[in-house]
């Protein structure tokens, strides 16, 4: 009995490790997206690393989000890391087997006191399951980083990865 409680408590701790107060998370503006449809991701960066200014923003593009194009940003250098996909995706009749795996905005200076957004778009594969889809993101500053890569989905997660909730297309093929 005690052991069972202990297990339950451990599970609860695994899901919810409280930590240093978090003022705001890096999040995506549109909380929902349709499976098999295009999505404009607006990554909102509300603060720096502690009090330090953000110089670089890095977003991982996980498998299942293809045909990705980032929006260039004045004052920031844009870099794309491409690679092969695990699966092939149909993009309006063209089969895609490789594409963007990571987007890097660098050389900027986003003060802790300021707010900014980083934009990219792409398409969610039709084969994805409904539920949360995570875009792990990292802010890099002069003296450290803020890694928003916790994909556990826990409500009390310390530094959750930005996510969007995927819902099934209502009217058949979602174009």
């Amino acid at each position: 009995m005690i052991r069972m409680f202990a297990r339950a408590a451990l599970a609860a701790t695994l899901l919810a490790i409280p930590a240093a107060p978090v003022f705001a998370h890096v999040t995506l503006e549109a909380p929902e997206a349709v499976i098999g449809a295009g999505y404009k991701a607006v990554l909102r960066v509300p603060h720096g690393c502690g009090t330090q200014a953000t110089n670089l923003v890095r977003v991982q593009i996980p498998e299942g989000f293809f045909a990705v194009k980032p929006m260039p940003k004045p004052g920031w250098d844009l870099e794309i890391v491409s690679g092969p996909y695990e699966n092939a995706y149909d993009n309006h009749g063209t089969t895609l087997t490789e594409g963007v795996k990571e987007i890097v905005w660098s050389g900027g200076n986003l003060l802790n006191e300021h707010y900014d957004e980083f934009v990219f778009r792409g398409t969610f594969a039709a084969a994805l399951e409904p539920g949360k889809f995570f875009f792990p993101a990292i802010q890099e500053c002069a003296g450290g980083e803020e890694a928003w890569i916790d994909t556990s989905g826990a409500a009390e997660a310390d530094m959750p990865a930005p996510s969007v909730t995927l819902v099934p297309a209502s009217g058949g093929h979602g174009h």
Partner: protein
């Protein structure tokens, strides 16, 4: 004569049976504490606990706050194997010290201090009162006088049961018994002062006496005083009273002290009674013989002949019981033998060999010619007996030194408890990508080092970017706290961390497998 011996045997057996009925105890050694020493606690505990290898009674306990003020907690302590002390509410932040002094059934006080901190380790460590060396020295001296009175005074009275006493020697023997009778209560007061860690002047306080009397040495002193008084009376009238005093004195020394406290108690207490009973006869005969041998008379010859005839009956129980006690007290061979207790025993054994050498020489080479009237033999015998008295006194002094040394069996027990706690504790955590083996060394509450080996599911080592460890104990009301691990020789290590309390702990690892991938795995670990 034989009738008398038979009666003595019956009496001895009766007392042995009485003594064997007592519960079994051994010299007290502190095994563990709760919280562990130097723990830093998030919240003030309600009580502290000290675990000993045998039941103890509190003598004095005080809690010293970070600002140096001391609170007497003696009334808040509950004795037993696990001594528990209720703490006052609203203990301030910082470092507190519980200064404790307890007594076990062998009547020997044990003292120490438990340091713990609330919130953070703040505040200078206060001075802890330690035992007064002057008190210990006086106690040793009082006991030496008491023992001299007992073995030469009462012992002389016991020898008078089987042989006439010399006229002048009788006065010396009575004087020694009287000195012992005075030293007995004095030693009790000094024992109380020693138990409480007070100066010799402490014997003027009533609390010192009640503390001394509350230990098992209290009853020992009462019985010894009674035995000495009986012996003193028997020297004047009612000679047979010495027959009652004899087992009484032996029993008195069996109910306190390490030897009578060791397991199995029916054996050790019986052995102590036989040991003391035999020594009382042997040592008690030395002074009368010394006086008798000054001049030749029928009475002197009768005393020497009686001694020569009966002393094997005393030596045999001394040897057998001494062997039994030595085996029990030393425990199995090991480093615990090389302690002051072992050194004292070695010295005592060496002197005993000398003493027995003299005794054998007396009995087989000197006694017959001395009884035959050879003046040279009588002179040698006198000198030899004088030397025996000297040796016996030194041996008593050594035996009294055991008062200050725990026997090897108790030391070995404490070391074994320490070693058992030093064994690492293990935990294994995994998910569908990564596994970790977590080793907490030592596997107990207190300062620990935690080593973490991170591998993939096939067991191949992984090279994560970072590993963070979160410790929590919800059952103990300890909130999670996160500490980074540092790479160390293929492992990840957390050093300088303290697991403040024993209990069930939850370990959660945040493993940064690569830039974007965080694995979080957890395990429980039981910290004893």
């Amino acid at each position: 004569m034989l009738h008398r011996l038979a009666r003595q045997c019956v009496l001895l057996l009766a007392f042995m049976a009485l003594a064997a009925g007592q519960p079994a105890f051994a010299h007290a050694q502190l095994l563990s504490t709760q919280p562990v020493a130097n723990a830093v606690l998030a919240q003030a505990p309600n009580e502290l606990a000290l675990l000993f290898n045998e039941p103890v009674s509190p003598l004095s306990l005080a809690l010293v706050a970070p600002d140096g003020t001391a609170t007497d907690l003696t009334a808040e302590a509950i004795g037993g194997e696990n001594l528990r002390v209720s703490l006052p509410p609203d203990l301030g932040q910082g470092t507190h010290v519980l200064s404790w002094r307890v007594v076990s059934v062998d009547a020997h006080p044990v003292a120490g201090a438990l340091v713990f901190s609330i919130g953070a380790a703040i505040g200078a460590l206060p001075e802890i009162a330690i035992a007064s060396p002057a008190t210990a020295l006086l106690l040793w001296a009082a006991k030496a006088v008491l023992f001299a009175g007992l073995f030469f005074g009462l012992g002389g009275a016991i020898f008078a049961l089987v042989a006439p006493l010399p006229a002048r020697g009788g006065g010396v023997i009575a004087g020694l018994a009287g000195l012992g009778l005075l030293a007995a209560p004095l030693s009790l007061g000094l024992h109380g002062a020693d138990a409480l860690g007070r100066d010799p002047g402490g014997i003027f306080a009533a609390s010192t006496w009640s503390a001394g009397y509350s230990t098992s040495y209290g009853l020992t002193t009462l019985l010894l005083a009674a035995a000495l008084a009986l012996g003193l009376v028997s020297l004047v009238r009612f000679r047979l009273l010495a027959l009652l005093a004899w087992p009484l004195a032996a029993l008195a020394l069996a109910i306190s002290g390490h030897a009578g406290a060791a397991e199995p108690q029916w054996l050790t207490r019986s052995a102590v009674i036989l040991h003391i009973g035999g020594i009382l006869f042997w040592a008690g005969a030395l002074l009368p013989l010394l006086f008798w041998l000054k001049s030749r008379s029928d009475d002197a010859d009768r005393a020497l002949a009686q001694f020569s005839r009966l002393v094997p009956l005393a030596i045999a129980p001394i040897l057998v019981s001494g062997l039994v006690l030595g085996v029990v007290q030393l425990g199995p061979p090991g480093p615990a033998w090389l302690t002051p207790y072992g050194y004292i025993l070695a010295a005592k054994l060496a002197l005993l060999v000398l003493l027995f050498g003299l005794a054998l020489w007396n009995r087989f080479r000197l006694t017959r010619p001395a009884l035959g009237g050879e003046a040279k033999a009588r002179l040698l015998l006198r000198r030899s007996i004088l030397a025996e008295i000297g040796l016996v006194l030194v041996i008593f002094g050594l035996a009294a030194g055991w008062r200050f040394t725990p026997p090897p069996r108790a030391i070995a027990l404490a070391q074994a408890a320490e070693a058992a706690l030093a064994v690492p504790a293990y935990a294994h955590a995994m998910d569908d990508r990564v596994m970790a083996d977590i080793v907490v060394t030592p596997g107990r509450a207190g300062p620990v080092a935690i080593d973490i080996a991170v591998v993939d599911l096939a067991g191949a080592p992984l090279v994560p970017l970072s590993v963070d460890l979160t410790l929590a104990a919800p059952a103990l009301n300890i909130e999670p706290f996160k500490v980074p691990a540092i790479p160390a020789g293929g492992l990840w290590r957390v050093e300088g961390q303290s697991i403040p309390l024993p209990g069930l702990w939850e370990l959660v690892l945040d493993i940064r497998l690569d830039r974007f991938t965080l694995a979080r795995i957890g395990a429980e670990i039981q910290i004893p």
